[in-house]
Subunit: 266 residues, 2 copies
Amino acid sequence: MSQTQGAAPVLSTPSAARAAYRSGLVAPTSGHAPGHTQANLVILPQDWAWDMLLFGQRNPRPVPLLDVTDAGSPHTDLAPGADLRTDLPLYRVWRDGELVEEVPEITGLWREDLVAFLIGCSFSFEQALLDASVPVRNIEQGRNVAMYRTNRQCRPAGRLSGELVVSMRPVPGDLVPVAVQVTGRMPQVHGAPVHVGAPEGLGIADLDRPDFGESIQAQDGDVPVFWACGVTPQAALMASRPPFAITHAPGHMFVTDAPDSAYRLP
Amino acid sequence: MSQTQGAAPVLSTPSAARAAYRSGLVAPTSGHAPGHTQANLVILPQDWAWDMLLFGQRNPRPVPLLDVTDAGSPHTDLAPGADLRTDLPLYRVWRDGELVEEVPEITGLWREDLVAFLIGCSFSFEQALLDASVPVRNIEQGRNVAMYRTNRQCRPAGRLSGELVVSMRPVPGDLVPVAVQVTGRMPQVHGAPVHVGAPEGLGIADLDRPDFGESIQAQDGDVPVFWACGVTPQAALMASRPPFAITHAPGHMFVTDAPDSAYRLP
């Protein structure tokens, strides 16, 4: 594990953030390059890429594909000039579905048959919620969001299958309609909630015991609101055990040049 | 060519329409099973399916993928029980990029490596325009819509590349904003227009000479409005000359069970 946590630098632009990570800074990307879309990263050999692309096509809520690269190319239209092998702060390497290491760059692991998938991230809609005066409790509490496995299965694609994973944010009841409308206008970053109010409707037994992330404290009058979560494809991938995969490390996303507004419908 | 044009039957539901086509009726699908989404069909060998799926992911306006089948399966979640080999009224068979025949069913041509792509169709948004009291001149004039090649290139994907093809509908100037808003809420069936008002901005020299379809007469005060068109993937495909492909015949679409409302954002 490499964890050279640096002093908070000025990472006000996407290119400045990527340059800092490329130079070795390892730090979560949340709050950096504000106003710009951050993305989840999944890299797979071409042999598995069809399954992943089809999984995304069939499950756009949990797997909103923002860009998919040509095999062997570490470049994306979402950030011309960026290099996906070096420009994230921290990567995870998986073999046969097992996490084997975390590394700050993957140049030495790159292969000509690798395809990179950039997937929408809830950071984008959390900012939109804040812009609409909807409180985001996990940000207020300085915690990772609470995530849960559900009893809903994704549509399988080839060798990839798995349950829908959701994130939960407690929202004041009178602001639930605003939260639904705001995120409903962002279908490429998970879109409208998949469920409001009744955890048992998703097969979630205990909100205080999330499967991923941290428990979030609700305020009086808050209602639990559930969105499809970008952990879904990672969970499906790890259950399906491809021989080789690379992902971003949680919270250490790819910072794109795309303004958040690019993914907000009018 | 098979053209057993039947007397207009009652095809009020998607399953009745598909059963009629399965039984041999060859007729355009426009106006049948009203309120239900119709789809363009492209069938390709698995070897070319990655290129097509990626082309759709990268060019969602002209190539909005509604469903993609498993290799060898003629079934789709958009119409459980339907058979894509028999349930369209008329198919086109292509070899090395050349149209070789039109046939009313493709059972004998089916192979275990074929993947079917169902692609959103402008019929869906024309109904939405009518619902919003926006006149649709091509329907008024009983003509196929006018379509034009443009000077805009699609993002290539593997062996697939080509220019954006657009359809044009003349819209009264005061209703252009309504037309933009209504179709903008339907991103899975081509979405908002790509251009309004200035054909030369798309490299179109003469509106009276469309590259596909028929010339549409504008009324006084109409403005030409251009939408990304589902002919785009077919044009790219034929230019790229895959050894084998099957598509629907123009106007002879796949009638799905999906209500049009499924593709309208609130």
